[in-house]
């Protein structure tokens, strides 16, 4: 009886020690994470309900900022529309392209590394730096690579003002964003694919599975759910955060606000007009969109066993 008691005591002592050591290891991370991620999220929520210009202390004004955003701010609505367009086109395109590329690459025996680098390199580049090249490719005069190419082919007779004309500008931004987002999930997918046991495919073939697409549908995709989810969450966050490429290529404000995104609107109100309350409500809308879509991803890629 006595010994059992002491064993229990030792056990609980060990458990406490484990708890303390664990928390000590996590402390540095938790302090910084709380300061720069958790508190800010709640601060942003709070600030979005105020009028705050950094000089006077914040005034509580309830949902006024949100009302103004939705009812009065045409530029915000434009930015919302643009962001949705950019995100809906680049997010899924980048996601699917990087999965297909990863899948195709695993079918090859040689040259994987080189192909992988070719697909992945664009997402390693700085959007701002590459914009100097994009501005030359899409330059509005005859010297632009694209204009000169199209003029040569005879497709157009006059150079097109790709980055000045609002109707083209949008598509230029979409194209560049797709180019940069091709690799978002690429590495995760590639690693996931390489990790699938080849014996599973072997077994399926014995059972009469014929095409590569059946393999993809019934073996590969179900096994890769965790990676697919991770990639999806990242591509949602990335797709809704388009900002630096758009401003570097289109300028700020862009012609007719045709490349104005939510983040650009946030930047404009927060750091140019110093209207922190209003800008926070823009941030909250971005937060709500990415969070809800992130949750949708969790639902779509949920693992069956739960």
């Amino acid at each position: 009886m006595k010994t059992r008691h002491s064993v229990q005591k030792v056990k609980s002592k060990m458990a406490t020690r484990k708890n303390i050591t664990g928390w000590l290891f996590m402390t540095p991370f938790l302090i910084l994470f709380t300061t720069f991620t958790l508190i800010p999220i709640f601060t942003a929520m709070g600030l979005s309900l105020t009028n705050y210009n950094l000089i006077q202390s914040p005034d509580f004004i309830g949902l006024t900022n949100y009302m103004n955003l939705i009812l009065d701010d045409d530029v915000f609505l434009t930015s919302l529309k643009n962001t949705l367009l950019f995100a809906l086109l680049t997010g899924p395109t980048g996601y699917i392209a990087s999965f297909l590329m990863a899948w195709v690459i695993t079918l090859f025996k040689r040259g994987r590394g080189a192909f992988a680098l070719a697909f992945y390199a664009p997402s390693l580049t700085s959007g701002v730096a590459m914009s100097t090249i994009w501005l030359i490719i899409f330059s509005g005069d005859r010297n632009g690579y694209l204009n000169s190419f199209l003029l040569n082919l005879g497709v157009i007779t006059e150079p097109i003002l790709w980055t000045r004309d609002a109707s083209y500008l949008k598509w230029v931004i979409v194209l560049i964003s797709v180019w940069m987002s091709m690799g978002t999930g690429f590495l995760v997918f590639l690693a996931g694919l390489q990790n699938i046991d080849p014996a599973l495919y072997e077994a399926a073939r014995v059972d009469g599975m014929k095409s590569k697409f059946q393999e993809l549908r019934y073996i590969t995709l179900p096994l890769m759910k965790p990676q697919l989810l991770f990639g999806a969450v990242n591509s949602v966050v990335g797709a809704f955060g388009i900002f630096d490429v758009a401003t570097a290529v289109a300028g700020m404000p862009s012609p007719n606000y045709s490349a104005h995104t939510i983040v650009a609107h946030l930047y404009d109100y927060a750091f140019i007009r110093m209207n922190m309350g209003y800008a926070s409500s823009v941030a909250m809308i971005l937060f709500i969109i990415t969070f809800v879509l992130g949750r949708v991803c969790f639902y779509v890629f949920r693992s069956e066993e739960d």
Binding site: A116, F119, Y145, L187, Q194, F243
Partner: protein, 292 residues
């Protein structure tokens, strides 16, 4: 018999045909991804007369290093030397990578291997934080950094980016599969927790933190928004911000050679880092899925 061999032949042909199509498709995509990069690399080595040639050329004819020497030696009045921007970027990205590796490995190891009470909640919060765009927290971060008196300093670019949920998540998933027995054995041998972490866990976590080094370096090196918000002295600007200032405004035509060189210098380091670490990245990414 003949029919069978015929069919077999046909099948081989079909496979070959689809494979050829695949290769063609892949090459087309490689062209799409690689052409802007090739143009970028070539422009950095183009002499000025080739840069303004009509029709414009993608490939360089007479490569020259003069763009780089122009860029690195030009010291216009009141201008900061370009090497200073390189240093700023290297220092802030390097320091962030260094700190994030330590702090995230520390935390992720603590969470995965000790599972202290409440760690499930913490991990759920961190997974939720994967869905926060950094832009959402930018305004409060600005207020906090201002409050700490760090605006216009290297710290403003480093501190907020150390405890990133994404980084923690990567290491935690990897740390989960470290064998407890090795750590236990070290403890029995009388090694204290810090010693065990440093000499046993860290070497085993090497693939994880190498990956972290790549991702963190890439995202911090390319980060434009933080510098835009936190830095307003020329001397502290990082490369993307400096490059943007350089590429706009008056005298662009005369500078376009140096801009090409600067673009290459801004783009290349991340690619080099990726190439060096490629093998290890793969090892970690295998464990990076989220089980929901």
């Amino acid at each position: 018999m003949e029919a069978i061999t015929k069919r077999k032949k046909f099948r081989i042909k079909k496979v070959k045909f689809s494979k050829v199509m695949l290769v063609i498709g892949m090459l087309a995509l490689v062209c799409f991804t690689a052409l802007p990069m090739v143009a970028m690399i070539c422009r950095a080595f183009m002499p000025l007369d080739e840069l303004y040639l009509y029709p414009p050329r993608i490939f360089v004819r007479k490569p020259t290093l003069s763009n780089f020497s122009d860029l690195l030696t030009s010291l216009n009045a009141s201008e900061v030397p370009f090497t200073r921007y390189i240093f700023n970027s290297l220092f802030t990205a390097g320091a962030t990578v260094f700190l994030t590796i330590f702090i995230c490995c520390f935390g992720a190891y603590g969470l995965a291997k000790f599972k202290p009470r409440g760690s499930k909640t913490i991990f759920a919060i961190i997974v939720a934080a994967l869905m926060f765009s950094t832009y959402v927290t930018q305004i409060p971060n600005y207020l906090i950094v201002t409050e700490l008196g760090l605006v216009n300093s290297y710290w403003a670019l480093i501190l907020p980016k150390v405890a990133v949920a994404y980084n923690f998540f990567l290491v935690k998933q990897f740390a989960e599969q470290l064998p407890d027995s090795i750590l236990e054995a070290a403890r029995i041998d009388g090694s204290n927790e810090l010693h065990t972490f440093w000499h046993i866990a860290m070497p085993l976590l090497k693939p994880a933190w190498s990956t972290l080094a790549v991702f963190s370096f890439v995202s911090n090196w390319n980060d434009y928004f933080s510098a835009l918000v936190f830095i307003n002295t020329d001397a502290l600007k990082t490369l993307p911000l400096a490059l943007q200032t350089m590429a706009g405004g008056a005298g662009v035509v005369a500078r376009s050679g140096s801009v090409g060189a600067a673009t290459l210098l801004t783009t290349l380091p991340t690619i080099i880092v990726y190439c060096i670490m490629r093998g290890r990245v793969m090892q970690t990414m295998t464990y990076s899925g989220i089980k929901s």
